[in-house]
Protein backbone atom coordinates (compact mmCIF):
# COMPACT_ATOMS: atom_id res chain seq x y z
CA UNK A 1 0.00 0.00 0.00
CA UNK A 2 2.62 2.56 1.06
CA UNK A 3 4.92 1.72 -1.83
CA UNK A 4 1.97 2.32 -4.12
CA UNK A 5 1.23 5.67 -2.47
CA UNK A 6 4.88 6.64 -2.84
CA UNK A 7 5.01 5.59 -6.50
CA UNK A 8 1.79 7.41 -7.24
CA UNK A 9 3.15 10.55 -5.55
CA UNK A 10 6.33 10.32 -7.62
CA UNK A 11 4.23 10.16 -10.79
CA UNK A 12 2.72 13.56 -10.03
CA UNK A 13 6.13 15.27 -9.99
CA UNK A 14 6.66 15.41 -13.79
CA UNK A 15 3.08 16.58 -14.20
CA UNK A 16 3.58 19.42 -11.72
CA UNK A 17 6.91 20.47 -13.27
CA UNK A 18 5.16 20.33 -16.66
CA UNK A 19 2.42 22.63 -15.35
CA UNK A 20 5.00 25.12 -14.07
CA UNK A 21 6.98 24.97 -17.31
CA UNK A 22 3.90 25.54 -19.46
CA UNK A 23 2.75 28.43 -17.27
CA UNK A 24 6.22 30.03 -17.49
CA UNK A 25 6.59 29.55 -21.25
CA UNK A 26 3.15 31.01 -21.82
CA UNK A 27 3.92 34.03 -19.66
CA UNK A 28 7.11 34.58 -21.67
CA UNK A 29 5.30 34.26 -25.00
CA UNK A 30 2.69 36.80 -24.08
CA UNK A 31 4.91 39.78 -24.76
CA UNK A 32 6.18 42.50 -22.48
CA UNK A 33 3.79 42.98 -19.56
CA UNK A 34 5.52 46.15 -18.33
CA UNK A 35 4.86 47.94 -21.61
CA UNK A 36 1.24 46.85 -21.48
CA UNK A 37 0.99 47.99 -17.87
CA UNK A 38 2.58 51.41 -18.16
CA UNK A 39 1.27 52.35 -21.56
CA UNK A 40 2.82 55.33 -23.30
CA UNK A 41 2.99 57.81 -20.43
CA UNK A 42 6.30 56.77 -18.97
CA UNK A 43 10.00 57.46 -18.95
CA UNK A 44 12.79 54.88 -19.37
CA UNK A 45 13.76 55.38 -15.71
CA UNK A 46 10.32 54.51 -14.42
CA UNK A 47 10.12 51.56 -16.78
CA UNK A 48 13.46 50.21 -15.52
CA UNK A 49 12.37 50.61 -11.91
CA UNK A 50 9.09 48.78 -12.41
CA UNK A 51 10.89 46.10 -14.41
CA UNK A 52 13.31 45.54 -11.55
CA UNK A 53 10.43 45.45 -9.05
CA UNK A 54 8.82 42.55 -10.90
CA UNK A 55 12.20 40.86 -11.41
CA UNK A 56 11.85 41.12 -15.17
CA UNK A 57 15.31 42.64 -15.70
CA UNK A 58 17.07 39.31 -15.13
CA UNK A 59 17.91 36.75 -17.84
CA UNK A 60 15.28 34.20 -18.79
CA UNK A 61 16.95 31.13 -17.26
CA UNK A 62 17.33 32.88 -13.92
CA UNK A 63 13.71 33.96 -14.03
CA UNK A 64 12.53 30.40 -14.64
CA UNK A 65 14.52 29.11 -11.68
CA UNK A 66 13.15 31.96 -9.55
CA UNK A 67 9.68 31.13 -10.76
CA UNK A 68 10.08 27.44 -9.94
CA UNK A 69 11.52 28.28 -6.52
CA UNK A 70 8.70 30.70 -5.77
CA UNK A 71 6.16 28.16 -6.94
CA UNK A 72 7.67 25.51 -4.67
CA UNK A 73 7.25 27.96 -1.78
CA UNK A 74 3.68 28.59 -2.89
CA UNK A 75 4.31 32.07 -4.27
CA UNK A 76 2.46 32.67 -7.54
CA UNK A 77 3.87 36.10 -8.31
CA UNK A 78 2.36 39.56 -8.57
CA UNK A 79 -0.65 40.82 -10.41
CA UNK A 80 0.07 43.36 -13.11
CA UNK A 81 -3.34 44.87 -13.53
CA UNK A 82 -3.90 45.25 -9.78
CA UNK A 83 -0.55 47.04 -9.37
CA UNK A 84 1.52 44.44 -7.65
CA UNK A 85 -1.09 42.73 -5.51
CA UNK A 86 0.13 39.18 -4.84
CA UNK A 87 -1.66 36.57 -6.95
CA UNK A 88 -1.85 34.41 -3.82
CA UNK A 89 -4.05 36.99 -2.10
CA UNK A 90 -6.37 37.21 -5.10
CA UNK A 91 -6.73 33.43 -5.28
CA UNK A 92 -7.06 32.96 -1.52
CA UNK A 93 -9.95 35.44 -1.57
CA UNK A 94 -11.88 33.24 -3.98
CA UNK A 95 -10.95 29.84 -2.55
CA UNK A 96 -13.86 29.65 -0.11
CA UNK A 97 -16.58 30.26 -2.71
CA UNK A 98 -15.07 27.93 -5.32
CA UNK A 99 -14.69 25.19 -2.73
CA UNK A 100 -18.35 25.47 -1.67
CA UNK A 101 -19.46 25.62 -5.30
CA UNK A 102 -17.58 22.50 -6.48
CA UNK A 103 -18.46 20.50 -3.36
CA UNK A 104 -22.12 21.48 -3.67
CA UNK A 105 -22.06 20.53 -7.35
CA UNK A 106 -20.55 17.11 -6.62
CA UNK A 107 -23.07 16.53 -3.82
CA UNK A 108 -25.92 17.45 -6.11
CA UNK A 109 -24.58 15.32 -8.95
CA UNK A 110 -24.20 12.27 -6.71
CA UNK A 111 -27.63 12.66 -5.07
CA UNK A 112 -29.46 13.23 -8.34
CA UNK A 113 -27.40 10.75 -10.33
CA UNK A 114 -27.71 7.92 -7.83
CA UNK A 115 -31.44 8.37 -7.30
CA UNK A 116 -32.07 8.57 -11.04
CA UNK A 117 -29.87 5.52 -11.54
CA UNK A 118 -31.72 3.51 -8.89
CA UNK A 119 -35.08 4.53 -10.31
CA UNK A 120 -34.03 3.46 -13.82
CA UNK A 121 -32.55 0.19 -12.62
CA UNK A 122 -35.78 -0.73 -10.81
CA UNK A 123 -37.77 -0.46 -14.01
CA UNK A 124 -35.43 -0.97 -16.96
CA UNK A 125 -36.89 0.51 -20.14
CA UNK A 126 -39.60 2.25 -18.07
CA UNK A 127 -40.49 5.92 -18.24
CA UNK A 128 -37.83 7.01 -15.75
CA UNK A 129 -35.18 4.93 -17.49
CA UNK A 130 -36.06 6.30 -20.89
CA UNK A 131 -36.30 9.84 -19.55
CA UNK A 132 -32.97 9.66 -17.75
CA UNK A 133 -31.18 8.32 -20.82
CA UNK A 134 -32.66 11.17 -22.86
CA UNK A 135 -31.56 13.65 -20.18
CA UNK A 136 -28.12 12.07 -20.25
CA UNK A 137 -27.84 12.51 -24.02
CA UNK A 138 -28.95 16.15 -23.85
CA UNK A 139 -26.95 16.77 -20.67
CA UNK A 140 -23.57 16.05 -22.25
CA UNK A 141 -24.44 18.44 -25.08
CA UNK A 142 -25.30 21.28 -22.71
CA UNK A 143 -22.67 23.83 -21.79
CA UNK A 144 -22.88 24.31 -18.02
CA UNK A 145 -22.98 28.08 -18.36
CA UNK A 146 -25.97 27.90 -20.69
CA UNK A 147 -27.87 25.73 -18.22
CA UNK A 148 -26.97 28.26 -15.54
CA UNK A 149 -28.35 31.08 -17.63
CA UNK A 150 -31.59 29.22 -18.36
CA UNK A 151 -32.07 28.34 -14.68
CA UNK A 152 -31.38 31.96 -13.79
CA UNK A 153 -33.90 33.09 -16.36
CA UNK A 154 -36.57 30.79 -14.90
CA UNK A 155 -36.02 30.81 -11.14
CA UNK A 156 -34.45 34.23 -10.59
CA UNK A 157 -35.78 36.50 -13.32
CA UNK A 158 -39.25 35.05 -14.02
CA UNK A 159 -40.25 33.48 -10.71
CA UNK A 160 -38.05 35.58 -8.42
CA UNK A 161 -37.50 32.71 -5.97
CA UNK A 162 -33.73 32.95 -5.83
CA UNK A 163 -31.20 35.77 -6.21
CA UNK A 164 -30.00 36.47 -9.76
CA UNK A 165 -26.34 36.40 -8.80
CA UNK A 166 -23.72 37.70 -6.44
CA UNK A 167 -22.77 36.24 -3.09
CA UNK A 168 -23.02 36.96 0.60
CA UNK A 169 -21.01 34.93 3.05
CA UNK A 170 -23.08 32.25 4.78
CA UNK A 171 -26.10 32.70 2.52
CA UNK A 172 -26.64 29.36 0.83
CA UNK A 173 -29.41 30.64 -1.43
CA UNK A 174 -26.78 32.27 -3.63
CA UNK A 175 -25.20 28.87 -4.26
CA UNK A 176 -28.29 26.78 -5.10
CA UNK A 177 -28.58 27.62 -8.80
CA UNK A 178 -24.81 27.60 -9.48
CA UNK A 179 -24.38 24.20 -7.79
CA UNK A 180 -27.35 22.84 -9.70
CA UNK A 181 -26.10 23.94 -13.11
CA UNK A 182 -22.51 22.90 -12.43
CA UNK A 183 -23.58 19.55 -10.96
CA UNK A 184 -25.50 18.66 -14.10
CA UNK A 185 -22.14 18.02 -15.84
CA UNK A 186 -21.73 14.74 -13.99
CA UNK A 187 -25.33 13.92 -13.07
CA UNK A 188 -26.09 12.27 -16.39
CA UNK A 189 -23.01 10.05 -16.46
CA UNK A 190 -23.40 9.08 -12.80
CA UNK A 191 -27.05 8.13 -13.42
CA UNK A 192 -26.22 5.87 -16.39
CA UNK A 193 -23.33 4.29 -14.55
CA UNK A 194 -25.30 3.63 -11.35
CA UNK A 195 -28.08 2.06 -13.40
CA UNK A 196 -25.71 -0.30 -15.22
CA UNK A 197 -23.81 -1.29 -12.07
CA UNK A 198 -26.99 -2.02 -10.13
CA UNK A 199 -28.54 -3.98 -12.99
CA UNK A 200 -25.40 -6.06 -13.27
CA UNK A 201 -25.24 -6.65 -9.51
CA UNK A 202 -28.91 -7.61 -9.30
CA UNK A 203 -28.17 -10.59 -11.55
CA UNK A 204 -25.34 -11.82 -9.35
CA UNK A 205 -25.61 -14.88 -7.15
CA UNK A 206 -25.11 -13.08 -3.86
CA UNK A 207 -28.08 -10.80 -4.45
CA UNK A 208 -30.19 -13.80 -5.43
CA UNK A 209 -29.12 -15.61 -2.28
CA UNK A 210 -29.93 -12.53 -0.24
CA UNK A 211 -33.38 -12.38 -1.76
CA UNK A 212 -33.91 -16.08 -1.16
CA UNK A 213 -33.17 -15.46 2.49
CA UNK A 214 -35.91 -12.85 2.53
CA UNK A 215 -34.22 -9.51 1.76
CA UNK A 216 -36.66 -6.76 0.91
CA UNK A 217 -36.56 -5.05 -2.47
CA UNK A 218 -34.93 -1.92 -1.08
CA UNK A 219 -32.47 -3.80 1.12
CA UNK A 220 -31.30 -5.74 -1.91
CA UNK A 221 -31.01 -2.55 -3.96
CA UNK A 222 -29.39 -0.24 -1.44
CA UNK A 223 -27.52 -2.69 0.79
CA UNK A 224 -26.25 -5.18 -1.75
CA UNK A 225 -26.35 -3.74 -5.25
CA UNK A 226 -25.59 -0.04 -4.71
CA UNK A 227 -22.15 -0.40 -3.08
CA UNK A 228 -20.97 -1.90 -6.38
CA UNK A 229 -21.55 1.43 -8.03
CA UNK A 230 -19.36 3.26 -5.51
CA UNK A 231 -15.97 2.76 -7.19
CA UNK A 232 -17.18 3.67 -10.70
CA UNK A 233 -18.93 6.76 -9.32
CA UNK A 234 -15.75 7.91 -7.61
CA UNK A 235 -13.88 7.28 -10.87
CA UNK A 236 -16.36 9.45 -12.77
CA UNK A 237 -16.02 12.24 -10.20
CA UNK A 238 -12.25 12.14 -10.60
CA UNK A 239 -12.45 12.11 -14.38
CA UNK A 240 -15.06 14.88 -14.49
CA UNK A 241 -13.26 17.04 -11.95
CA UNK A 242 -11.35 18.84 -14.69
CA UNK A 243 -14.51 19.86 -16.51
CA UNK A 244 -16.00 20.70 -13.12
CA UNK A 245 -13.18 23.17 -12.48
CA UNK A 246 -13.41 24.80 -15.90
CA UNK A 247 -17.18 24.68 -15.52
CA UNK A 248 -16.73 26.56 -12.24
CA UNK A 249 -14.94 29.35 -14.12
CA UNK A 250 -17.90 29.70 -16.47
CA UNK A 251 -20.57 29.24 -13.78
CA UNK A 252 -18.98 31.81 -11.50
CA UNK A 253 -18.92 34.21 -14.43
CA UNK A 254 -22.62 33.67 -15.07
CA UNK A 255 -23.69 34.09 -11.44
CA UNK A 256 -21.09 36.71 -10.49
CA UNK A 257 -19.84 34.44 -7.68
CA UNK A 258 -16.55 35.88 -6.40
CA UNK A 259 -14.54 32.64 -6.60
CA UNK A 260 -11.24 31.76 -8.27
CA UNK A 261 -13.04 31.29 -11.57
CA UNK A 262 -14.45 34.81 -11.61
CA UNK A 263 -11.03 36.20 -10.71
CA UNK A 264 -9.63 34.26 -13.62
CA UNK A 265 -12.33 35.46 -16.01
CA UNK A 266 -11.78 39.06 -14.90
CA UNK A 267 -8.04 38.64 -15.31
CA UNK A 268 -8.61 37.32 -18.84
CA UNK A 269 -10.66 40.39 -19.69
CA UNK A 270 -8.00 42.67 -18.17
CA UNK A 271 -5.15 40.69 -19.86
CA UNK A 272 -3.57 40.18 -16.44
CA UNK A 273 -1.53 37.13 -17.34
CA UNK A 274 0.17 36.36 -13.98
CA UNK A 275 -3.27 36.00 -12.41
CA UNK A 276 -4.56 33.81 -15.27
CA UNK A 277 -1.51 31.55 -15.03
CA UNK A 278 -1.69 31.49 -11.24
CA UNK A 279 -5.31 30.34 -11.42
CA UNK A 280 -4.37 27.69 -14.00
CA UNK A 281 -1.53 26.41 -11.83
CA UNK A 282 -3.72 26.25 -8.72
CA UNK A 283 -6.52 24.47 -10.58
CA UNK A 284 -4.11 21.99 -12.16
CA UNK A 285 -2.71 21.33 -8.70
CA UNK A 286 -6.18 20.71 -7.27
CA UNK A 287 -7.01 18.46 -10.22
CA UNK A 288 -3.87 16.37 -9.78
CA UNK A 289 -4.47 16.11 -6.02
CA UNK A 290 -8.09 15.06 -6.46
CA UNK A 291 -7.13 12.36 -8.93
CA UNK A 292 -4.45 11.15 -6.55
CA UNK A 293 -7.02 10.90 -3.77
CA UNK A 294 -9.43 9.12 -6.10
CA UNK A 295 -6.81 6.51 -6.97
CA UNK A 296 -5.95 6.00 -3.32
CA UNK A 297 -9.58 5.83 -2.20
CA UNK A 298 -10.24 2.65 -4.20
CA UNK A 299 -8.50 0.47 -1.66
CA UNK A 300 -10.66 1.83 1.15
CA UNK A 301 -13.91 1.60 -0.78
CA UNK A 302 -13.46 -1.86 -2.20
CA UNK A 303 -11.58 -4.31 0.00
CA UNK A 304 -11.00 -6.54 -3.04
CA UNK A 305 -8.63 -3.94 -4.51
CA UNK A 306 -5.08 -4.31 -3.25
CA UNK A 307 -2.09 -2.36 -4.42
CA UNK A 308 1.11 -4.22 -5.06
Amino acid sequence: MWTYVFRRLLQTVPVLVGVALIAFVFSELSGDPIRAMLGQHTTPEIEAKVRAYYGLDKPRSERFLNYLGNLACGDLGLSIEKHGMPVNEIIAGGMHVTFLLTMGAILFAVLMGVSLGIASARRPNGIVDYGSSAVAAVGVSFPAFLLGMLLMLLFAVQLGWLPVGGYERGQLKYLILPCLSLGMISTASIARLTRNCIMEALNQDYVRSGRAKGLGEWQALLGHALPNALVPIITIIGADFGSLLTGAVLTETVFALPGIGLQMANAIFARDLPVVMGCCVVMALVFVTVNLLVDLSYAFLDPRIRYG
Binding site: I22, S141, P143, L146, L245, T246, I268
Partner: protein
Protein backbone atom coordinates in the same frame (compact mmCIF):
# COMPACT_ATOMS: atom_id res chain seq x y z
CA UNK B 1 -2.47 -19.29 -71.38
CA UNK B 2 -2.60 -16.01 -69.58
CA UNK B 3 -6.37 -16.36 -69.27
CA UNK B 4 -6.09 -19.50 -67.21
CA UNK B 5 -4.11 -17.88 -64.47
CA UNK B 6 -5.64 -18.34 -61.05
CA UNK B 7 -7.98 -15.43 -60.44
CA UNK B 8 -7.49 -14.33 -56.86
CA UNK B 9 -9.96 -11.48 -57.13
CA UNK B 10 -9.45 -8.73 -54.64
CA UNK B 11 -7.66 -10.18 -51.66
CA UNK B 12 -8.95 -9.08 -48.28
CA UNK B 13 -6.42 -9.32 -45.51
CA UNK B 14 -7.40 -12.20 -43.26
CA UNK B 15 -8.58 -11.15 -39.84
CA UNK B 16 -8.78 -7.48 -40.76
CA UNK B 17 -11.75 -5.62 -39.35
CA UNK B 18 -13.77 -4.53 -42.33
CA UNK B 19 -16.85 -2.42 -41.78
CA UNK B 20 -19.96 -4.18 -42.92
CA UNK B 21 -20.47 -3.03 -46.52
CA UNK B 22 -23.92 -1.64 -45.91
CA UNK B 23 -22.90 0.59 -42.99
CA UNK B 24 -24.70 3.62 -44.37
CA UNK B 25 -27.90 1.59 -44.64
CA UNK B 26 -27.64 0.76 -40.94
CA UNK B 27 -26.95 4.41 -40.22
CA UNK B 28 -29.98 5.61 -42.16
CA UNK B 29 -32.24 3.04 -40.51
CA UNK B 30 -31.63 4.79 -37.18
CA UNK B 31 -34.12 7.66 -36.74
CA UNK B 32 -31.82 9.47 -34.33
CA UNK B 33 -29.01 9.49 -36.87
CA UNK B 34 -31.35 10.84 -39.53
CA UNK B 35 -32.57 13.62 -37.23
CA UNK B 36 -28.97 14.45 -36.36
CA UNK B 37 -27.93 14.54 -40.01
CA UNK B 38 -30.93 16.77 -40.76
CA UNK B 39 -30.02 19.26 -38.05
CA UNK B 40 -26.39 19.33 -39.16
CA UNK B 41 -27.34 19.89 -42.80
CA UNK B 42 -29.51 22.83 -41.70
CA UNK B 43 -26.69 24.26 -39.59
CA UNK B 44 -24.18 23.96 -42.42
CA UNK B 45 -26.65 25.58 -44.82
CA UNK B 46 -27.14 28.46 -42.36
CA UNK B 47 -23.40 28.94 -42.11
CA UNK B 48 -22.75 28.68 -45.85
CA UNK B 49 -25.55 30.99 -46.93
CA UNK B 50 -25.03 33.63 -44.22
CA UNK B 51 -23.68 36.17 -46.72
CA UNK B 52 -26.64 35.97 -49.08
CA UNK B 53 -29.56 34.59 -47.08
CA UNK B 54 -29.22 36.39 -43.76
CA UNK B 55 -31.88 39.07 -43.43
CA UNK B 56 -29.42 41.72 -42.18
CA UNK B 57 -25.70 42.16 -41.70
CA UNK B 58 -24.18 40.80 -38.49
CA UNK B 59 -23.19 44.26 -37.27
CA UNK B 60 -26.07 46.21 -38.76
CA UNK B 61 -27.72 48.16 -35.92
CA UNK B 62 -31.38 49.08 -36.02
CA UNK B 63 -31.71 52.18 -33.84
CA UNK B 64 -34.97 52.25 -31.94
CA UNK B 65 -35.37 48.49 -32.35
CA UNK B 66 -33.16 47.42 -29.45
CA UNK B 67 -34.46 44.33 -27.60
CA UNK B 68 -37.19 43.86 -30.23
CA UNK B 69 -39.11 40.63 -29.61
CA UNK B 70 -39.15 37.88 -32.25
CA UNK B 71 -41.71 38.83 -34.90
CA UNK B 72 -42.26 39.49 -38.56
CA UNK B 73 -39.43 41.99 -38.99
CA UNK B 74 -36.85 40.24 -36.83
CA UNK B 75 -37.56 36.50 -36.83
CA UNK B 76 -35.52 35.79 -33.72
CA UNK B 77 -35.59 39.28 -32.21
CA UNK B 78 -32.77 41.80 -31.82
CA UNK B 79 -30.05 42.21 -29.22
CA UNK B 80 -29.16 45.12 -26.95
CA UNK B 81 -27.59 47.05 -29.85
CA UNK B 82 -30.52 46.43 -32.20
CA UNK B 83 -28.74 43.75 -34.22
CA UNK B 84 -30.77 40.94 -35.76
CA UNK B 85 -30.28 37.73 -33.73
CA UNK B 86 -31.04 35.42 -36.68
CA UNK B 87 -28.35 37.00 -38.83
CA UNK B 88 -25.85 36.84 -35.99
CA UNK B 89 -26.71 33.19 -35.29
CA UNK B 90 -26.09 32.40 -38.98
CA UNK B 91 -22.66 34.06 -39.01
CA UNK B 92 -21.90 32.56 -35.60
CA UNK B 93 -22.52 29.09 -37.03
CA UNK B 94 -19.45 29.60 -39.22
CA UNK B 95 -17.19 30.09 -36.23
CA UNK B 96 -18.58 27.15 -34.27
CA UNK B 97 -18.60 24.68 -37.15
CA UNK B 98 -15.25 25.65 -38.64
CA UNK B 99 -13.48 25.71 -35.28
CA UNK B 100 -15.17 22.48 -34.17
CA UNK B 101 -14.21 20.61 -37.35
CA UNK B 102 -10.70 22.00 -37.74
CA UNK B 103 -9.82 21.46 -34.09
CA UNK B 104 -10.90 17.84 -34.48
CA UNK B 105 -8.71 17.57 -37.59
CA UNK B 106 -5.70 18.92 -35.69
CA UNK B 107 -6.32 16.62 -32.72
CA UNK B 108 -6.82 13.69 -35.09
CA UNK B 109 -3.59 14.31 -36.98
CA UNK B 110 -1.50 14.55 -33.82
CA UNK B 111 -3.38 11.68 -32.17
CA UNK B 112 -2.99 9.37 -35.17
CA UNK B 113 0.74 10.05 -35.49
CA UNK B 114 1.43 9.59 -31.77
CA UNK B 115 -0.86 6.57 -31.41
CA UNK B 116 0.48 4.88 -34.54
CA UNK B 117 4.16 5.36 -33.68
CA UNK B 118 3.58 4.40 -30.07
CA UNK B 119 1.56 1.28 -30.77
CA UNK B 120 3.54 0.08 -33.77
CA UNK B 121 7.07 0.42 -32.48
CA UNK B 122 6.46 -0.28 -28.79
CA UNK B 123 9.49 -0.25 -26.52
CA UNK B 124 11.01 3.07 -25.53
CA UNK B 125 9.21 5.23 -28.14
CA UNK B 126 5.95 3.89 -26.74
CA UNK B 127 7.07 4.60 -23.21
CA UNK B 128 8.19 8.17 -23.90
CA UNK B 129 5.17 9.07 -26.02
CA UNK B 130 2.66 7.64 -23.57
CA UNK B 131 4.24 9.36 -20.53
CA UNK B 132 4.07 12.60 -22.51
CA UNK B 133 0.42 11.89 -23.37
CA UNK B 134 -0.35 11.18 -19.71
CA UNK B 135 1.23 14.46 -18.67
CA UNK B 136 -0.78 16.50 -21.16
CA UNK B 137 -3.95 14.60 -20.24
CA UNK B 138 -3.33 15.38 -16.57
CA UNK B 139 -4.26 19.01 -17.20
CA UNK B 140 -7.89 19.96 -16.83
CA UNK B 141 -8.55 20.10 -20.55
CA UNK B 142 -10.30 23.40 -21.15
CA UNK B 143 -7.98 25.15 -18.69
CA UNK B 144 -5.02 24.46 -20.95
CA UNK B 145 -7.02 25.84 -23.87
CA UNK B 146 -7.81 28.94 -21.79
CA UNK B 147 -4.11 29.39 -21.03
CA UNK B 148 -3.13 29.04 -24.70
CA UNK B 149 -5.78 31.40 -26.02
CA UNK B 150 -5.17 33.92 -23.23
CA UNK B 151 -1.47 34.07 -24.13
CA UNK B 152 -2.12 34.73 -27.82
CA UNK B 153 -4.96 37.11 -27.13
CA UNK B 154 -4.17 40.54 -28.60
CA UNK B 155 -6.47 43.46 -29.17
CA UNK B 156 -7.87 43.85 -32.70
CA UNK B 157 -7.00 40.47 -34.11
CA UNK B 158 -8.62 39.44 -37.36
CA UNK B 159 -11.45 36.92 -37.14
CA UNK B 160 -9.44 34.22 -38.91
CA UNK B 161 -6.43 34.76 -36.64
CA UNK B 162 -8.63 34.19 -33.59
CA UNK B 163 -10.09 31.10 -35.20
CA UNK B 164 -6.64 29.66 -35.87
CA UNK B 165 -5.72 30.23 -32.20
CA UNK B 166 -8.93 28.54 -31.05
CA UNK B 167 -8.32 25.60 -33.38
CA UNK B 168 -4.77 25.13 -32.13
CA UNK B 169 -5.76 25.49 -28.47
CA UNK B 170 -8.58 22.95 -28.71
CA UNK B 171 -6.50 20.64 -30.90
CA UNK B 172 -3.59 20.66 -28.48
CA UNK B 173 -5.98 19.70 -25.71
CA UNK B 174 -7.95 17.07 -27.61
CA UNK B 175 -5.36 14.76 -29.15
CA UNK B 176 -4.56 12.71 -26.04
CA UNK B 177 -7.72 10.60 -26.02
CA UNK B 178 -7.35 9.97 -29.77
CA UNK B 179 -3.75 8.84 -29.32
CA UNK B 180 -4.73 6.40 -26.58
CA UNK B 181 -7.58 4.85 -28.55
CA UNK B 182 -5.53 4.53 -31.73
CA UNK B 183 -2.58 3.05 -29.84
CA UNK B 184 -4.87 0.40 -28.34
CA UNK B 185 -6.20 -0.44 -31.81
CA UNK B 186 -2.72 -0.61 -33.30
CA UNK B 187 -1.49 -2.87 -30.51
CA UNK B 188 -4.08 -5.50 -31.35
CA UNK B 189 -3.77 -5.08 -35.12
CA UNK B 190 0.00 -5.38 -35.40
CA UNK B 191 -0.08 -8.96 -34.06
CA UNK B 192 -2.49 -10.04 -36.79
CA UNK B 193 -1.53 -12.38 -39.61
CA UNK B 194 -1.99 -9.85 -42.38
CA UNK B 195 0.69 -7.65 -40.85
CA UNK B 196 3.05 -10.62 -40.66
CA UNK B 197 2.17 -11.37 -44.30
CA UNK B 198 2.95 -7.80 -45.33
CA UNK B 199 6.26 -8.02 -43.49
CA UNK B 200 7.05 -11.30 -45.18
CA UNK B 201 6.36 -9.69 -48.56
CA UNK B 202 8.92 -7.08 -47.72
CA UNK B 203 6.73 -4.05 -47.00
CA UNK B 204 8.45 -1.24 -45.14
CA UNK B 205 7.37 0.16 -41.80
CA UNK B 206 5.68 3.14 -43.37
CA UNK B 207 3.64 1.05 -45.80
CA UNK B 208 2.54 -1.36 -43.06
CA UNK B 209 1.64 1.45 -40.68
CA UNK B 210 -0.40 3.51 -43.11
CA UNK B 211 -1.69 1.01 -45.65
CA UNK B 212 -2.37 -1.99 -43.44
CA UNK B 213 -2.84 -0.81 -39.88
CA UNK B 214 -4.20 2.72 -40.20
CA UNK B 215 -6.76 1.75 -42.85
CA UNK B 216 -8.09 -0.89 -40.49
CA UNK B 217 -8.47 1.70 -37.73
CA UNK B 218 -10.72 3.89 -39.85
CA UNK B 219 -13.99 2.89 -38.17
CA UNK B 220 -13.06 3.81 -34.60
CA UNK B 221 -11.31 6.93 -35.86
CA UNK B 222 -14.42 8.14 -37.68
CA UNK B 223 -16.59 7.51 -34.61
CA UNK B 224 -14.14 9.18 -32.24
CA UNK B 225 -13.71 12.18 -34.53
CA UNK B 226 -17.46 12.71 -34.89
CA UNK B 227 -17.96 12.56 -31.14
CA UNK B 228 -15.10 14.97 -30.52
CA UNK B 229 -16.47 17.63 -32.89
CA UNK B 230 -19.29 18.17 -30.40
CA UNK B 231 -16.84 18.51 -27.54
CA UNK B 232 -14.79 21.03 -29.50
CA UNK B 233 -17.86 23.11 -30.29
CA UNK B 234 -18.65 23.15 -26.57
CA UNK B 235 -15.05 24.16 -25.88
CA UNK B 236 -15.21 26.96 -28.42
CA UNK B 237 -18.46 28.20 -26.90
CA UNK B 238 -16.88 28.20 -23.43
CA UNK B 239 -13.77 30.08 -24.60
CA UNK B 240 -15.89 32.58 -26.51
CA UNK B 241 -18.09 33.03 -23.46
CA UNK B 242 -14.99 34.00 -21.49
CA UNK B 243 -14.13 36.58 -24.13
CA UNK B 244 -11.36 34.54 -25.73
CA UNK B 245 -13.23 33.91 -28.96
CA UNK B 246 -13.42 35.87 -32.21
CA UNK B 247 -13.20 39.64 -32.05
CA UNK B 248 -16.48 41.51 -31.64
CA UNK B 249 -18.55 42.59 -33.51
CA UNK B 250 -18.16 39.31 -35.41
CA UNK B 251 -20.59 36.94 -33.67
CA UNK B 252 -20.01 33.51 -32.17
CA UNK B 253 -22.64 31.56 -30.28
CA UNK B 254 -20.67 31.64 -27.05
CA UNK B 255 -19.93 35.34 -27.43
CA UNK B 256 -23.62 36.08 -28.07
CA UNK B 257 -24.38 34.42 -24.73
CA UNK B 258 -21.91 36.75 -23.02
CA UNK B 259 -23.81 39.72 -24.45
CA UNK B 260 -27.06 38.10 -23.35
CA UNK B 261 -25.92 37.74 -19.75
CA UNK B 262 -26.53 41.36 -18.83
CA UNK B 263 -29.72 41.70 -20.89
CA UNK B 264 -31.60 38.56 -19.89
CA UNK B 265 -34.35 40.42 -18.10
CA UNK B 266 -35.36 42.29 -21.22
CA UNK B 267 -34.58 39.76 -23.93
CA UNK B 268 -34.84 36.02 -23.27
CA UNK B 269 -34.36 35.37 -26.99
CA UNK B 270 -30.76 36.53 -26.72
CA UNK B 271 -30.14 33.46 -24.52
CA UNK B 272 -32.42 30.87 -26.01
CA UNK B 273 -31.54 31.01 -29.71
CA UNK B 274 -27.74 30.98 -29.68
CA UNK B 275 -27.87 28.55 -26.74
CA UNK B 276 -30.32 26.32 -28.60
CA UNK B 277 -28.02 26.26 -31.62
CA UNK B 278 -25.09 25.12 -29.48
CA UNK B 279 -27.10 22.35 -27.82
CA UNK B 280 -28.70 21.12 -31.05
CA UNK B 281 -25.45 21.06 -32.99
CA UNK B 282 -23.47 19.32 -30.25
CA UNK B 283 -26.29 16.85 -29.61
CA UNK B 284 -26.47 16.08 -33.33
CA UNK B 285 -22.75 15.37 -33.57
CA UNK B 286 -23.01 13.11 -30.52
CA UNK B 287 -26.03 11.22 -31.87
CA UNK B 288 -24.38 10.89 -35.29
CA UNK B 289 -21.26 9.53 -33.59
CA UNK B 290 -23.31 6.96 -31.69
CA UNK B 291 -25.14 6.02 -34.89
CA UNK B 292 -21.84 5.66 -36.77
CA UNK B 293 -20.49 3.44 -34.01
CA UNK B 294 -23.50 1.15 -34.26
CA UNK B 295 -23.18 1.06 -38.03
CA UNK B 296 -19.41 0.73 -38.42
CA UNK B 297 -18.44 -1.35 -35.44
CA UNK B 298 -20.77 -4.31 -34.89
CA UNK B 299 -18.91 -5.46 -31.79
CA UNK B 300 -19.75 -2.42 -29.69
CA UNK B 301 -23.26 -1.98 -31.10
CA UNK B 302 -26.02 -2.14 -28.57
Amino acid sequence: MADERLDTGTVRPVGALQPRPEWWRILLRNPRSIAALGVLVVMFMLALTADTASPYGYKEQHRGNEHAAPGAQFRLGTDDLGRDVLSRVMYGARVSLVVGLCATLVALTVGVIVGLLSGYFGGWPDHVLMRFTDTVAAFPSLLLAVAITAVYDRPNQETWEKMVILVIALGVVGWTSMARVIRAQVLSLREQDFVAAAQALGSGHRRIMFRHILLNCISPIVVLATLSVGGNILGEAGLSFLGLGVQAPFPSWGGMLTDALSHMRKAWWMVVFPGGCIVMTVLSFNLLGDGLRDALDPRTAK
